[in-house]
Symmetry: D2
Subunit: 345 residues, 4 copies
């Protein structure tokens, strides 16, 4: 039986490399093209040292091969320019940028600048499979959810679904992220000497992922900090429900939402060193750890959510979505369990 | 002219070592005793490699010398047991533990267990000089403010003083701290392999420093995370004033509070890499960086506050308080400017 | 077809956890027992957060089940005490300690203290499959090679085999290792605050792994430094052959030795960021990266060798050896490719 | 009494910022000019967050003020182009680049390209005050020694002076350095995501500092690795004297050389956590820690040398040299003791 063919556009970036890693170890996919204007025709191992064992070479993005699935790991704004070429090349396009994540042009304009293909916004399926699994089978244009939005939505969704949060509640989301969120390259602020060891407010207000969160959860007060790690996104959500809840209510809501989810682990208290979600515990995996605590002194629920931004926050989520879209086993190619101990992956 | 003599009790711990460093470089103090039951009679450089140039040796805590000022850097609960001996040995006692920080026994009981000398709570002066400077001159029992409380109070105080916050507002405080907050020693969770690279919720709710904050600011929703650094505490305060404010109002409030403060720097926006407060920018110094941003979408004020927990959060604050108490130049011994670039100090 | 059953003794340690991770994802093995005196009967996920998805619980080491393969991940000296019980429980014992790595009691006494079962030293097979592959099929007592020895031997072996080094040459080996080499637990020196950011000479001379190296390569001048990472061992070998060699000679020797090895990658120069072996490029994998450079000014060959000490340096090597011993595909369960980018894993 | 005036050319770089920090806290100097083509006329705190308290602004390098001492912190090759302007502006020029470190044009040509002012090489004084103190008073052109050379020379000098090494011995120097050695800016390899957590051979052979070392110590086999820290250089020297030596001989040689040196600390064995030189123990200071061990198995002496490359390796060394040249107290402005604990500064 022949494999499902895949192409990765923008394959020299961090997310592109992660897609190549996942797809090359995937039981169903065969990667036949990896584009990079800058690095063609070098081998992909030239940029991604973990893929040195592969013979695949970068090719020019202007000559797309015909494939079953095309993954676009290009910067925001690029996919909408090339979407026709992408769709001509592949029956299924999974875009990892923000170009097709929002539902309407108005929403897009509020947070970004000038969508050139707004008519596709209603067609595209937002891919956070725990939330939109039913819409994915057969989808032809898939927009993989953003990293910080994914962490936040997964943390708060059970409270919304259970009616604990009603959409008008005060929701503060304080996010901590690693340097890979900035992508390859970057200027002085991204240099090791300046970026090392920081707790740096990099999006005090107005982070664009607010738009994705608002679509599903409601308006949040959102702040993002850069901290010392390369991979990882951790969202701490401080929410104040109108009605008091018990710890049991919370366990009920989270178990109801996630007990059958292959990529969500509830981690809330208990003993040992790892009592709550931590990004380093999920580094390299497509898992999300979700936990919570109740603050008796003020009725606050504190929700912790940790993912690997390169995986559950982008490439892993894209492959997961493609698995669902094409009818593969959901966890195919995504079964890495993570490492212990591990430093600051 | 003879120097003012000083003793450090609990001198082998991290905070004790920092006191020794500061006092040995202080123009007014001469350290005559450094106690450590475990390390006496080794030299202090045996434990603190930066102090190898000193001949001072640890001595037994049971034989306190008579000094002008005694700094107690002992674990919580120890100072209250030995306070009579401390006060017999020294006219001025500066305690760095939580033993004498709260105003009443009731407050103490709510957050800690069993105060043995509650009558001293009303006598002791809480030392966060930006807040309690007037009470310090001549004080005989000084309780240096806690690290996370200091970061939070310094961040929110101008809003309270200016009437922007009224004490009934929603205040979420999300804190990120380094590993030195746990002190020397520590178990498996503090080992390098387990602690490296974390964003770890270590006090999801119920952190004891809430009590100190409540004394001056009001009740806060408080959560503390361990992140990858050794020194540093960063508080992000998300607050929602009842009445709308402008950026100009905020600048006015913060300038009014801090423009003459030698250890507070306002850092709010502007260009370059370091646009908001960052703990690594103040590492090794007694400075606090304070900044803020206004979120137009929800009326939120986001306040950022960064200190070195070993300095402004403990030893530096103690020396600052002693300077004020004894009438020295406030910045004496505390003029280190910090390093650039620097990693994760 | 029923799986090959496996037990891990000492399963709560770092190496034990790594074995559990590898074996639980291995196509041939089924882990039926994981012992830990301290943590029985908690789930293995209590200690190893990456294994929370497993139901397996720690059991007491005194009640060993009968299995096909027993992996002993106990501290040095423990295996020799319990070797009879291990061998009664399992037809194949793979020991990860140093107990059975050396060939003679004399050698052992020179570097360690008092072997209680010296008669087994000649029976055991040293497992560094690139070196001893032929002796492994059917072996019943396997001693997996040590991490620093593995890195060094893999780096220098091709030069010995090609006759570039003759055993009497000057060989300086300067090793840099991560904190996981110290194992779980550890005292003050292993705490995050003291261990972070170090370049610390921890074995200036006299490291016990010299004995293993001497068995295969010859006597080396060996020094080990602790550096800031959790996983990883990197050996830089400075060697001075008697006869001059060319770069072509070196490429010939290394290709000859390793071109068919599934776990060795030659990385020597070329372009891009990753031009020579780096431990972070192999973190989480069973791969060794080997590279070299020729110093025209003094005839020196500089050899770089990088492994993940938890994998190629212990657990991965043990599973690799078991694969060979039992006739499985060599790479079974060991095909993780590693991550890019990644921080300090 | 008026202060000695100083200018820093190239003041926006890492070394320039360190000079500004040191000079602004120096009892004798007043900084009157800090040049930066890129950042003029911003305040120096725009680039160096630790210097936000200063009003000084960057000015254009084309308009040099007349000062007593000019410190040039420009890239290699720039000083030789502007040396006439520098010397016209200042009676004493301290250059931190490699332009005037070597003694002859031939030496320079061997390691660098095309010296435009070779006649100045014999006039300039190499500044490693422990080595060239006598030549510094009154010197008008001073070339501060390079970081890796400084660490190496300080480590080996006592052995040369004591005749333990004779210049024909085998000397392997394995160096580990932090990211600040690469200076501000830098490309992909210097980005946080790629540079974090590395043990990366960045100069396997042919590092230019070999030339400086050769001038004073002899030819060395030199290899430099980038490791995870921002500040710091650590040299491990493996040397093989022709004649056997005792530990007592070594202590004698090192004490003889350094017992009166204000910036050299001997750290060799003993107890506690910090038994040998470590860069983090000297971070922020002008100190060098030097230690050694004797390897009985092969007659090797292992010498460890640790400095802060930004201080003893450049800016601190330059200020130290200026202190000697101008007759100030040697330690003036250089008395910071360093921090404990500290992470990866």
């Amino acid at each position: 039986m022949s494999a499902t063919t895949a192409a990765v556009v923008g394959a020299s970036g961090f997310t592109g490399g992660e897609l190549l890693r996942l797809l090359s170890g995937h039981p169903e996919f065969e990667v036949v093209q990896a584009t990079s204007r800058q690095y063609a025709p070098k081998t992909i191992g030239h940029v991604h040292p973990n893929l040195r064992g592969t013979d695949l070479r970068f090719s020019e993005p202007d000559e797309l091969q015909s494939v079953d699935v095309l993954f676009a790991a290009t910067p925001h704004g690029v996919s909408m320019e090339h979407i026709d070429a992408f769709r001509e090349a592949a029956g299924t396009v999974v875009d990892l940028s923000a170009d097709f994540r929002l539902e309407s042009e108005d929403q897009y304009e509020e947070h970004y600048d000038g969508h050139t293909r707004p008519e596709l916004l209603s067609e595209s399926v937002y891919a956070l499979p725990e939330l939109t699994r039913e819409q994915l089978p057969g989808a032809e244009l898939i927009a993989a959810g953003g990293c910080n939005a994914t962490a936040t939505i997964l943390g708060l969704l059970p409270l919304v679904e259970a009616g604990v949060l009603t959409g008008t509640d005060q929701m503060v989301v304080d996010v901590k992220v690693g340097s890979s969120e900035g992508g390859a390259g970057g200027g002085a602020a991204a240099s090791h000497a300046e970026r090392s060891g920081v707790v740096r407010p990099y999006a005090p207000t107005g982070h664009r992922h607010e738009a994705e969160i608002e679509q599903f959860i409601g308006s949040v007060s959102f702040t993002v900090h850069a901290v010392e790690m390369v991979r990882g996104a951790s969202a701490t959500c401080h929410v104040f429900p109108d009605e008091p809840v018990t710890k049991g209510d919370l366990w009920g809501a989270y178990r109801e939402q996630y007990e059958n989810e292959p990529f969500v682990e509830l981690v809330a208290g208990g003993g040992g060193v790892y009592r709550y979600p931590e990004p380093k515990a999920v580094a390299g995996t497509n898992n999300a750890e979700i936990g919570f605590e109740l603050d008796p002194s003020n009725g606050r629920i504190v929700v912790f959510s940790a993912i690997d931004n390169m995986m559950k926050g982008s490439a892993g989520q894209a492959v997961h979505a493609a698995n669902v879209a094409l009818g593969f086993e959901e966890t195919a190619g995504l079964d890495f369990q993570g490492l212990h101990p591990v430093g600051a992956p």
